[in-house]
């Protein structure tokens, strides 16, 4: 049941025929695991919190640095030196006190990822490196829950939605990644890509619209083009194929 506060807070989105009060209650019951509280994580977490996702678990081990602030909009000047999850939880709670925020300041590893994903309905990939993304892909497959992938570089971003064993998984599509520890990025890129990931999450929870499955959407902010590439399951995929490890 929605409270009076929630009924008014979400009134503009429950006006959407595809959402309604029933949909809003579904969002409230949903548990989301967001891996990463950086550029993508900020955008995704803000919009899912504002939309009324009931339970958000956000995991990140990093502390806020000055060079984060051009894009990681959950973190402000005064947060420099603090744990990102402390900063994130504070902002998200003030944005929407109805949402339960479970903020965990640990590094995601092979040993703990399963417990982070426990009892969650889906996973949002807002990481900044391929090895952890692969771990997220594996745990999503193990738990048979969807993975909402996003990545950014400069003015470019990419996003796709993965439904385990039904659509191409991350490992079906990725074989490597551009080298380098630090990547260039303008804040508007994770804002765009994170918003699309959040939209996909909401659609998935509500069972509405057409998910970004079997498709890789690449955003080019410089040319202002969105290009959709077809993806296909790899029967030999080591994560979801017949010969999976």
């Amino acid at each position: 049941m929605l409270t009076r506060d929630e009924t008014e807070r979400y009134s503009r989105q429950t006006m959407i025929v595809e959402i309604g009060k029933e949909g809003q209650e579904k969002l409230k019951k949903t548990r989301v695991f967001i891996a990463g509280a950086g550029g993508l994580g900020s955008s995704v977490a803000i919009y899912l919190t504002a939309a009324g996702i009931g339970n958000i678990r956000i995991v990140d081990h990093d502390t806020v640095e000055l060079s984060n602030l051009n894009r990681q909009v959950l973190h402000w000047d005064r947060d420099i030196g603090n744990k990102k999850i402390v900063s994130a939880k504070g902002k998200l709670k003030r944005l929407n006190h109805n949402v339960k925020i479970d903020a965990i300041g640990e590094r995601i590893t092979e040993n703990n990822i399963s417990q982070f994903a426990a009892n969650c309905d889906l996973i949002v990939d807002a990481m900044d490196n391929l090895p952890i993304r692969y771990l997220l892909n594996k745990v999503a497959l193990e738990k048979n829950i969807p993975l909402f992938h996003g990545a950014v570089y400069g003015f470019e971003g990419r996003v796709m939605t993965i439904i385990p064993y039904k659509t191409a998984c991350l490992r079906c599509v990725y074989r490597g990644v551009m080298p380098g520890d630090k990547f260039p990025v303008i804040g508007t890129t994770p804002a765009v890509i994170g918003s699309i990931q959040a939209t996909e999450v909401i659609k998935y929870v509500l069972g509405i619209g057409e998910l970004l499955t079997g498709r890789l959407l690449i955003y080019n902010g410089l040319d202002m083009q969105f290009t959709e590439f077809k993806t296909k399951k790899d029967p030999q995929c080591e994560h979801c194929g017949e010969k999976r490890l």
Partner: protein, 90 residues
């Protein structure tokens, strides 16, 4: 046989700023070789020292992945190739 290759944004400084380069070839590999002949500076951005496609370079033919055939994948006149790079920033 003419095929258009859409060059990734970050590589366009190696193709005199061209976003699309017209090449000749009947496979993905021969098209990329023709691209390299026209713009030699792009070679190390696509291939390793043994001539193998780098694992973060993804070639699409008419918006469909060329994997796993990749370089051996046949193309025909008028096809569109896209050179994309796998990114992982967050």
């Amino acid at each position: 046989m003419s095929v258009g290759i859409n060059i990734h944004q970050s590589l366009r400084h190696l193709t005199n700023g061209k976003a699309i380069v017209e090449v000749d070839g009947n496979t993905v590999g021969s098209c990329l070789n023709n691209l390299v002949q026209q713009f030699p500076g792009i070679k190390p951005k696509l291939f390793d020292e043994k001539g193998k496609l780098l694992n973060y370079v993804d070639i699409y033919v008419n918006l469909e992945s060329s994997y796993p055939k990749e370089l051996a994948m046949p193309v025909k006149d008028g096809d569109k190739l896209s050179v994309t790079l796998i990114i992982a920033g967050g």
